[in-house]
Symmetry: C2
Subunit: 242 residues, 2 copies
């Protein structure tokens, strides 16, 4: 769009971002896992953080593909949006971009589990108690990260209910991420359905940056600054390697 081109032009007069012209995939929002034709399992993710990241990356001149679950948000200018519903749909959409993207940012709250045998129509149920069997969904971010080349970055989020940061560090290790944003879950200031977040950015090197309570927009900017440094140092010849 003209708007994006103007923003890109404006940005490039200020400074060239190492993300300029790079392909970035961002996942966002919740997924919905069908129980039957009318019922589903989901989570409280609003998609705001992922959309803010996608917008901030596009402003830096990156070619952003935003794969999102069902949310009520406007697509940021210059971002290519792909709407999906379930974790399996998000997985399929993400896989088509794994090879060709430079940076993969998993900000979606992908459902860990889905009903094992979803029913096409509406279930008729009379029993006082019923059981639903859930099976594990693929870990989209880990799958990308564990197969990524040395030129690709994988960035993830860890939403934790405890202030215990070790769980986030474990995820960074086990998924071999380049950076994990530890997201302390607090109903009022950070996490789902609020406009602010309190993130701690943990890099592969161990470097840890504690951000204060910021709007998700500002938190996205700070995250992108760290990613720019990481990507810039990883591929110092990025201007020539296009």
């Amino acid at each position: 769009t003209i708007h994006t081109h103007l923003e890109e032009a404006l940005h490039s007069t200020q400074q060239e971002s190492p993300l300029q012209g790079r392909s970035i995939v961002v996942t966002a929002g919740p997924t919905r896992e069908k129980i039957d034709g009318v019922r589903y399992i989901s989570n409280y993710s609003s998609g705001k953080m992922g959309f803010a990241i996608a917008g901030a990356a596009a402003k830096r001149g990156a070619l952003v593909t935003l794969i999102t679950g069902p949310v009520h948000l406007e697509t940021p200018p210059g971002v290519k949006r792909i709407d999906v519903e379930s974790a399996l749909e998000m997985h399929a959409a993400a896989r088509t971009f794994f090879q060709s993207c430079h940076i993969f940012i998993g900000a979606a709250a992908v459902a860990d589990y889905r009903p094992a045998a979803p029913y096409e129509r509406k279930m008729k149920k009379e029993a006082e108690e019923i059981e639903i069997t859930l099976v594990k969904n693929p870990d989209i971010l880990a799958e990308f990260s564990l197969q990524k080349s040395t030129k690709q970055l994988a960035i993830g989020f860890a939403l934790e209910m405890q202030s215990d940061i070790d769980n986030a560090r474990k995820k960074l290790e086990s998924k071999q991420l380049d950076l994990i944003a530890f997201n302390f879950f607090d109903r009022k200031t950070s996490g789902f359905e609020v406009d602010t977040n309190i993130l701690t950015l943990i890099e592969r090197s161990g470097k840890t940056t504690e951000l204060p309570q910021l709007t998700k927009h500002d938190a996205a900017e700070r995250l992108l600054e760290v990613i720019e440094k990481q990507y810039g140092s990883k591929s110092p010849l990025h201007k020539n390697s296009r």
Copy 2:
């Protein structure tokens, strides 16, 4: 509000509705049933039908209380809105209005079941397969209908995947409703997440009115016309009984 008073005044110059000054409770939207601190079970209800009914009733001068699950909709002018999340919360809110309302319209897609033991925090799960036990939620509409006085009306919806209307008739009987709107579920033209509905209105007397595909707004108007007739004939002295 001034707006409501103006609308009421305007309406009353046209014709006095038997719903004028009557207390109507409308339930709308889905409910969300917590699995844990971040996950829930819900359904695809958008709340549009219930909101349209609430708006149409308020235009007729009724005193409308709209009890709604989580939706992304504007409150219709002159309607008192109460936001709830779970079926149990909707049940509690509805019960406070049972005694004093003249007409109860259950348009919400209340979850039939909720997780038996929701977990406060975020579950840590590693297993390939897990089981969730669900227990039955109260049937809010049936509870009101079965205890209503002869001066009160209970109106319900039956969302059915088959064109088999008998199920709706059975619900009308078993819940002793005054009217049930049989709502054929079709992803494109009728039911959840679309702007139109194909309703068949079945009254206690057996009288059946098949409506064509209408906007939910127009369907609400037609439903209210039938309710007006039912309520008017039930309480012919309504003007004096205030």
